[in-house]
C-alpha cells in the first residue's frame, strides 16, 4: 500500500479520524475506570478518617469555605470528632495535603499526610515524625496557640534537616485548626451572657453553661438546667 500524499484534504482527514478514534477509546477507558478510581479514593479517605478520628459510626462531609471537613458521629448521633483536609503551599517540593483530626475538645487526635512532594528521606518523614511516639509528636496538642517549629520560637521538634517541610506541616495544622474553629466553633464556659443589639439595649441570660461560636457566625448558648438553646 502506497504512502498517502500530503494533500490538505488527506492531512485534515487523517488528523480528524485519529483524534476521533483516540477520543472514543479514551472515553471507554474512562467509563470503565471511573468506578474503581472513585472506590480507591473513597477507601483512601475512609482509611485516613479511621486513622485520625476516634472510633466513629458514620461521617458527614461538608465544605467550609472550600475546605473539606468531615464530622464523625457515634451510633447515638453524638459528635466524636472532626477531621479537616487542608492543603498548604509552603512545602519544599510543592503542595502538602494533610488530613487532621480533632477531638471534641479541639485537640489534635491524629493526622495523616495524604499527598506531598517533599524530598524522599527528609521531608517525606513527616508521615511518622509528628505521630505519637515520633520525635516531633503533636498528638494531643491544643492549637489555640499556633504550632511553630522550635527554630521559630514554637515547641514542635522539626524533622532533622527538613525545617521547611516541618514549617509547612505546622502551617497545615494551623490552617486545619482555623477551619475547625469555623466549623465546630469554639466554646467558652461561662455563667452569664450579656446580649446587646444595635441600639445599645442590654439583656442578660442567666444560668448559662457554655456559649459557642459556630459556623456562619451565630452563637449557641447552652443553659444549665432547662437544656434549652438560644441563637443570636
Amino acid at each position: 500500500m502506497a504512502k498517502k500524499q500530503s494533500s490538505l484534504i488527506n492531512m485534515v482527514l487523517t488528523l480528524f479520524v485519529i483524534t476521533v478514534v483516540a477520543a472514543v477509546a479514551l472515553g471507554f477507558v474512562y467509563y470503565f475506570t471511573q468506578e474503581p478510581i472513585a472506590q480507591v479514593k473513597e477507601k483512601k479517605l475512609n482509611e485516613g478518617l479511621m486513622k485520625v478520628l476516634p472510633a466513629f459510626d458514620h461521617q458527614v462531609a461538608e465544605e467550609v469555605e472550600g475546605v473539606p471537613t468531615y464530622k464523625a458521629f457515634d451510633a447515638n448521633e453524638q459528635l466524636v470528632g472532626t477531621a479537616v483536609e487542608v492543603v498548604t503551599d509552603k512545602g519544599f517540593g510543592g503542595d502538602v495535603k494533610v488530613l487532621v483530626g480533632f477531638d471534641t475538645e479541639g485537640k489534635i487526635f491524629g493526622y495523616t499526610v495524604l499527598e506531598h512532594k517533599e524530598t524522599a528521606g527528609l521531608g517525606s518523614k513527616m508521615g511518622d515524625w509528628f505521630q505519637e511516639g515520633g520525635k516531633g509528636n503533636v498528638i494531643g496538642k491544643d492549637l489555640s496557640t499556633p504550632a511553630k517549629v522550635k527554630k521559630d520560637g514554637g515547641d514542635v521538634d522539626a524533622i532533622t534537616a527538613a525545617t521547611i517541610s516541618s514549617r509547612a506541616f505546622c502551617d497545615a495544622l494551623n490552617k486545619a485548626y482555623a477551619t475547625y474553629v469555623n466549623t465546630v466553633g469554639s466554646c467558652v464556659s461561662t455563667s452569664m451572657v450579656i446580649l446587646t443589639d444595635e441600639t445599645g439595649r442590654c439583656d442578660t441570660l442567666k444560668n448559662v453553661e457554655t456559649i459557642c461560636k459556630t459556623a456562619n457566625d451565630s452563637f449557641t448558648v447552652t443553659f444549665k438546667e432547662e437544656g434549652g438553646q438560644d441563637n443570636e
Binding site: 500500500m1 502506497a2 504512502k3 498517502k4 500524499q5 500530503s6 494533500s7 488527506n10 492531512m11 487523517t14 488528523l15 485519529i18 483524534t19 483516540a22 477509546a25 479514551l26 477507558v29 474512562y30 475506570t33 474503581p36 478510581i37 480507591v40 483512601k44 499527598e115 512532594k117 524530598t119 524522599a120 528521606g121 527528609l122 534537616a161
Partner: protein, 207 residues
C-alpha cells in the same frame, strides 16, 4: 531441497533479527545510557528501585502499544502530519495507563503520578515511533518497543537501586541498616552523579 534450505535460512535470519531488535535496547542502544533519551523521568523517578522499575514498566507499556499502532497505521498517515498523529496515539496510551494505574495501582500512582503524564513527551517513545515503527512491520516494532522499554526499565531500576542503597540504606523498600544514608544520593544531585558513573561504566564495556 535448496528452496527449503533457503526458507529455513530466511526464517533463521528473521529470528536473529528479532533477537537483535530485542536485545539492542539493553546495552548496545540502551535508550538512557547510550542514546541519552528520556533523562527527565530518569533523574526524577529513580529515588528508589521500585519507583524506577515501575516508571520503566509504564514506559514499556506505552512504547509497545504505540509502536504496534504506529507501525499498523504508518501508511495511512501523510508525511507532513506524522508527528502530531504519533503524539495523539502516544498521548492516548499514556492517558490509558494513567487511568489504569489510578484505578488498580493507587500505591505506585501516588509516588509516580506526577511523572506518568510526562511519558507523552519522553523522547524514547516518539523516537522509536519515528526511527523504527514508522519504517518496520508490526511484529518487529513490537519487539523493538519491548526491548527498548525493558532496557529502559532495567537501567532505571539499577540506578534507583544504587541511589536507594547509598541514600536510604535500603533496597526495594527493605531497610538493611537502621541509619541515615548519604542524603545527597536521594536528592537531585545524586541522580546526576549516579547517572554519570553508570554511563561511564557502560561506555567502558560497550566499545
Amino acid at each position: 531441497m535448496t528452496v527449503l534450505l533457503l526458507h529455513l535460512k530466511k526464517k533463521e535470519d528473521r529470528t536473529m533479527n528479532n533477537w537483535k531488535n530485542f536485545t539492542k535496547g539493553f546495552i548496545k542502544e540502551n535508550p538512557v545510557l547510550v542514546m541519552l533519551l528520556g533523562c527527565c523521568p530518569t533523574l526524577g523517578t529513580t529515588t528508589s528501585a521500585i519507583n524506577g522499575l515501575s516508571m520503566g514498566l509504564a514506559t514499556t507499556f506505552v512504547l509497545v502499544c504505540s509502536n504496534i499502532v504506529i507501525s499498523l497505521i504508518k501508511n495511512l498517515i501523510p508525511d507532513k502530519v506524522r508527528i502530531p498523529s504519533y503524539i495523539v496515539v502516544i498521548a492516548s496510551f499514556v492517558t490509558v495507563i494513567d487511568l489504569l494505574m489510578q484505578a488498580y495501582l493507587p500505591g505506585i500512582y501516588e509516588t509516580l503520578g506526577l511523572f506518568i503524564p510526562l511519558i507523552v513527551v519522553n523522547c524514547i517513545v516518539l523516537g522509536r515511533a519515528e526511527a523504527f515503527a514508522s519504517k518496520n512491520g508490526v511484529w518487529a516494532s513490537c519487539v523493538d518497543g519491548l526491548g527498548m522499554g525493558l532496557g529502559y526499565a532495567l537501567a532505571l531500576m539499577i540506578l534507583g537501586a544504587v541511589r536507594e542503597v547509598l541514600g536510604s540504606l535500603s533496597i526495594f523498600g527493605w531497610q538493611f541498616i537502621q541509619a541515615d544514608g548519604i542524603l545527597v544520593f536521594v536528592l537531585a544531585p545524586g541522580a546526576f552523579f549516579g547517572l554519570a558513573y553508570f554511563i561511564a561504566v557502560v561506555r567502558r564495556f560497550n566499545k
